[in-house]
Symmetry: C2
Subunit: 457 residues, 2 copies
């Protein structure tokens, strides 16, 4: 029987970083990582295989990170966990005993079995498997009419890439807007207009009744009876936790099928941790279930689990997901973190909002200057930031990361109004109009009336 | 006699933002701003007039911000402050009485009167004056051999732009390295190599003995006697506070000629505030004098003064400058905030350092991916971040701004290791290798040996 100190099941962001962190934290222990596939895809890079990379091999996560950290890598299937005996049964390597176990088995695409025709030929979900994605690649190159069902990030990004390839693309979304979970209406309008301007047929508030065709898909039928022809359908209905291993060995699970974890990333068994898409997610603000599955959340959780595997070192570290997103659509970057205004109101927060528009270079006359817009949502009473949305050029993602940190640390509007920033003409907005500072200033202004009551100047 | 509630002297970043903030904070008061010139230059944009913008008018700060905030704008010279009678005497508009006054008179270039020949023709300092800069513009276009004295930000940026125009450029710096105040050796080496690769003659550890020529400059003589020919010399020896108005009316001044201010940006007169380059700067970490003159620091101070003008609203707000810098040299962006490793050691901090290199896109095979390098310096005992340096593509400036906020808020290495980030293939590093997270992880690793003492796994 193989023995290892730390066994990790899963080879994507959560597994890799758990292993690397444990190596750095605990020095010379024995660490083994099991994954099912010979290669691993960069998960968020998958849509860009089709239009931008044009070579599926370019989207692999290199194994150098594991080799450099001296991790034993097994390409194998973990079949069963025996938590009483602290062993895992594998298909190829027999039984492996562990001192601590980290489950990082990720997620699987939601297959809409309630839509007739979901299993026709040329209907694809987005599996993170190189061979499967290669089939999509070949089919997409040959296709003329492509329908994407679901206007979340994967759906929108896939639609954009298919359009870049010159396909006729229809994007069908049940809700009022694409990406409505991450952005308020002004921002989703901006996104929808961009998609439409570039020739994508965006159908919101639209339900798919069935996928039609003989053996292969020929089109979809909408709730109203309309038929949209297609020789390929992509299902972008989201992902579900792949928690089967945990469930089968008797770990506590939540209603969504995710493995329940505490703030240290421990499951109901103190020697087993779970991280990433297979682990329960809670909202940073409300503590409610927050089934937002992101590689960056997995990365955070992995580092906590890796640090805490043999001793609790990062205290109360997993405070919940702040849902920090970013995407780039036809050259424009959109990013968000925390609560939207709509969600904050719905949850009952008393809020103040600050918005600001400027150019992302200064002077704005510089050749590659782009417009940048920001919206920030604060607790009106405490001043603490609750959420933000930004769109503009390539730097928008790092601007939202400033606010991700601010959200995590309960930073206030006055602090964000006056925090010192590096600026430079060729790469940033002006210090006079730095978007975070300026939007925070605008939010504060909405709150000054009551401060000025009774003040004589 | 004109009367105004809030009078502001100075029309660059400090003045403009003081006015805008006061408008938002106090509503419908009378605000007047006096500035000397009809137009105002974006200060940090000045080097880019010559090679990139190629039109001096494009580098103007538009007046729309002042007009939109309903600020009375006077193009005039403030001659004298009478703080007993709370009035300012101007050249054109007579005496103006104020309730509160904000001095934002900026800085002036240091003229090296100790170098003979400093006043020859075609020897220019960088004044922030459109007409004067236009003379430099014309002369630079005609020049062949350009010498820049001083390897600070202005010197390096001017040298880069002159080289972009195809000039023979020599950059002379007395210290071991250009930009040594902002970066440690590895980073200054990177910068120096970049400058040399592009054909700039970089001479560090080099003193200028005199500037030679009849009426106009013909060259410089170095300390060793070597003559370097030049038909144009730029003096980039730094700036000094323009505090004369404050000094002449009896405000408390520091040894550098800057107006002394408290944490509320008040001078020794409670009705007079000072912000920006003319106001005293203290180091965020040590409280020592920190004569770092930056538009972004001015912006921070202006918002504090504007908020606090009639009531103290932002408490203990000016905690000192964290020296947050950014520049772009031949397409590479360099940024820094806080203490360098050298400075931290010199000040006696017990530190730990984390470094990391990765690509700024994921997968790194994406067409426009650039290498990105980060170095972070922490207090080894408390874990709190003390400083950071980054170089890479355009997003580097916003990455340093995450760390500017982190420094301001005493955030620790473990927090920076696990904070949640938005990432996206086309605009950011991978969540597995997000540079701030990863460098913090490496710093922590240097500290784990003593945690593992006595631990049996």
């Amino acid at each position: 029987m193989k023995e290892t100190d730390l066994l990790i099941i899963g080879g994507s962001a959560g597994g890799i970083l758990s292993a690397q962190m444990a190596r750095k934290a605990y020095g010379n222990i024995d660490i083994t990582l099991i994954r099912e596939t010979k290669t691993v895809m960069v998960p968020c890079g998958i849509p860009y295989i089709f239009g931008t990379l044009r070579d599926i091999k370019k989207n692999r996560i290199p194994d150098t990170g594991l080799h450099d950290a001296n991790i034993n890598l097994l390409i194998d299937n973990a079949m069963e966990i025996d938590k009483e005996n602290k062993t895992v049964t594998t298909k190829e390597n027999g039984i492996i005993s562990y001192k601590k176990l980290i489950i990082a088995t990720g997620s699987l695409p939601i297959i809409p079995t309630f839509i007739p025709g979901y299993d026709l030929g040329n209907v694809f979900a987005i599996l993170k498997d190189e061979n499967y994605l290669n089939k999509i690649f070949e089919k997409l190159d040959a296709a003329q009419n492509v329908i994407v069902i679901g206007g979340g990030f994967i759906g929108v990004e896939f639609a954009e890439q298919a359009r870049v390839l010159g396909k006729n693309v229809t994007l069908v979304e049940m809700a009022d807007a694409c990406l409505w979970q991450a952005f308020d209406k002004k921002y989703t309008d901006e996104i929808e207009n961009l998609l439409k301007d570039k020739g994508i047929n965006v159908m919101t508030k639209t339900k798919v009744k069935k996928i039609v065709g003989e053996k292969s898909v020929e089109g979809i039928e909408l709730d109203g009876g309309q038929i949209v022809p297609a020789d390929m359908v992509i299902l972008g209905l989201g992902m579900r936790p792949n928690g089967a291993l945990g469930k089968n060995c008797g770990l506590e699970m939540n209603a969504k099928g995710a493995i329940v974890v505490d703030q240290y990333m421990r499951t109901s068994d103190p020697d087993i941790f779970a991280v990433g898409d297979c682990a329960e997610k809670k909202c940073f603000f409300t503590g409610k279930d927050a089934p937002i599955l992101l590689a960056s959340t997995a990365a955070m959780e992995a580092k906590i689990a890796g640090s805490n595997a043999f001793q609790l070192r990062l205290l109360r570290a997993n405070k919940g997901t702040i849902s920090t997103f970013s995407t780039k659509i036809f050259g424009r970057t959109f990013a968000a973190a925390g609560l939207t205004e709509a969600k904050a109101r719905q949850e009952g927060y008393c809020i103040m909002v600050g918005e600001f528009n400027t150019m992302d270079r200064h002077p704005g006359t510089l050749p590659d200057a782009q417009k940048i817009s920001i919206k920030m949502i604060f607790s009106k009473c405490s001043g603490i930031i609750l959420g933000a949305q930004v769109f503009g050029g390539n730097t928008v993602t790092e601007i939202i990361n400033i606010l991700s940190l601010a959200i995590t640390k309960d930073i206030t509007a006055t602090e964000l109004n006056t925090f010192q920033t590096a600026t430079h003409p060729l790469v940033s907005p002006s210090p006079i109009a730095y978007p975070i500072n300026a939007a925070a200033m605008n939010a504060i202004a909405t709150n000054c009336n009551h401060l000025n009551e009774g003040l004589t100047i």
